[in-house]
């Protein structure tokens, strides 16, 4: 499979998706289709290599979850994105599809406060359990006071 074929396949199967570029293919899907799209990427595009999961805080436009996966055999790179919408911080978890999403989603919850629906073990990973706030949100200023260490 080449990148162009993969693009065509995505366009065919997910008509609502915005597709951009070839290496990597950037595909933005709606949050409802998120898990289905991940499963499609894994099973049909054979993008089995899970690179990373993160989020971007677009202030008023809300949060955007970004996932990068690769097909190591055919060298196809796919950047999956979904916009959660303003004020929303719930996203379905893709842990059933990619095991690597376990720690990455925990980190994302830690930093952005996104609740991943279906993640079995969603706790803070890098920060302490009693940390207040989610530091990578743009509303969390660098000098936000935090409680002293206990």
């Amino acid at each position: 499979m080449t990148s162009d074929q993969a693009r065509a396949l995505i366009a065919e199967r997910f008509s609502g998706a915005q597709i951009d570029g070839t290496y990597p293919i950037t595909a933005t899907v709606s949050t409802d289709q998120w898990v289905a799209f991940a499963r499609f990427a894994s099973d049909e595009l054979r993008c089995r290599f899970f690179s990373f999961l993160t989020a971007v805080d677009w202030k008023d436009l809300g949060l955007e979850v970004v996932v990068r996966v690769d097909n190591l055999d055919d060298n196809i790179a796919l950047l999956m994105k979904t916009r959660l919408g303003p004020g929303v911080s719930v996203c379905p978890s893709i842990m059933p599809v990619y095991k690597g999403a376990n720690w990455m989603e925990r980190e994302c919850y830690d930093m952005f406060g996104i609740h991943f629906d279906g993640h079995p073990d969603l706790r803070r990973i890098l920060l302490t359990d009693d940390w207040v706030g989610h530091p990578l949100l743009k509303s969390y200023a660098v000098d936000t006071p935090h409680p002293p260490y206990r």
Partner: protein
Amino acid sequence: MSAPTVTPKRVELDYTGSERLTMNMGPQHPSAHGVFRAVLTLEGETVIDVDSVIGYLHRCHEKLSETLTYAQYPSIASKTDYVAAMTSEFAYVRAAEVIGKFEVPKRAQYLRVITAELQRVASHLLWLGTWCMDMGGALGGGATIFLYCIRERELILDLFESLVGARLLYGFFQVGGVRYDIPSGWADSCRQTVDVIDQRISEYERMLENNPFFMARAQGVGVISRELAESVGISGPLLRGSGVAWDLRRADPYSSYEDFEFKVPVETAGDCFARYRVRMVEFRESLKIVRQALDKLPEGPISSRPGLKSVAQTRVPKGEAYVRVEGARGEVGCYLVADGSAKPYRMKWRGASFSNLAILPHIIPGHKVADIVAIMGSVDPVFGEVDR
């Protein structure tokens, strides 16, 4: 830090009559390569369950990078993976270059290749030493190999010191090129060092190859299947040890890597020994690349942009990119979102060690306590990169 909640099922007496023991390994433990805590559930000497606790070294690099300009951050980027600082800087600088479509002169590209490969050798030397020390103990043969490796690593650090003036955190890269040109005589001393290290690597192999003590500890321990490897997203020598021929220098060439001849070692067993073999071949291939790059090193400028005069000199146009380089531990990636100012809007650091370490809960159960340190060592995590 409050303790993570451990589900009671893990510590109760098992109904089969075998008693379970919860043991903390770390955060301060001789074989934790940094500050890592593993909450182990043991049945005798066999590990049933492991819960990893990370984040002791968290410095919030991603938030920090939003407050620092493209000129300032590269020297901080080296603090993520402090054992292979050159490749960390490389990833960040390249991300900015890809978004801004900045040219990099050929000489700078070659210098980047030379330093990145020397850094890989230095990092692998530290890995070999610490891994053997994990398996052999600081009061045994492991310490001997460790000290030999450190002895050779010092030679490379000396080279870096005469190139940039620092031994660990370099600040060698800048957007558009590199900050320092090589001093006179550096190429010759580099060639000599490469030869010495090439010879010394054979000595390590003679100490370890076929050695029954070493083989017994490394073979068949910590087996990672290809499916698991890809799904968790481990990269670098670990992925290649599991039978995937995936090297970013070959698959997605950057910085003139296509000019050089080198092999991508692959092993299929997926155990600690396979990872050891992959890294041992990588040593030689990296040295080969350094030799080729030194021979072909072109003349010319080392940076396409004027030397840094003020803090906000580098502005990157609006855009986003995910750029990855093959670091010593695998895919070091930088997902950069630029908004046209002198500072990034958002930076995601994909540390190779973070993803590599996530494999531990999948492979450790079923092994003995002594195997944990062997597996941990073969994963080669650097906690600056895990916790960022």
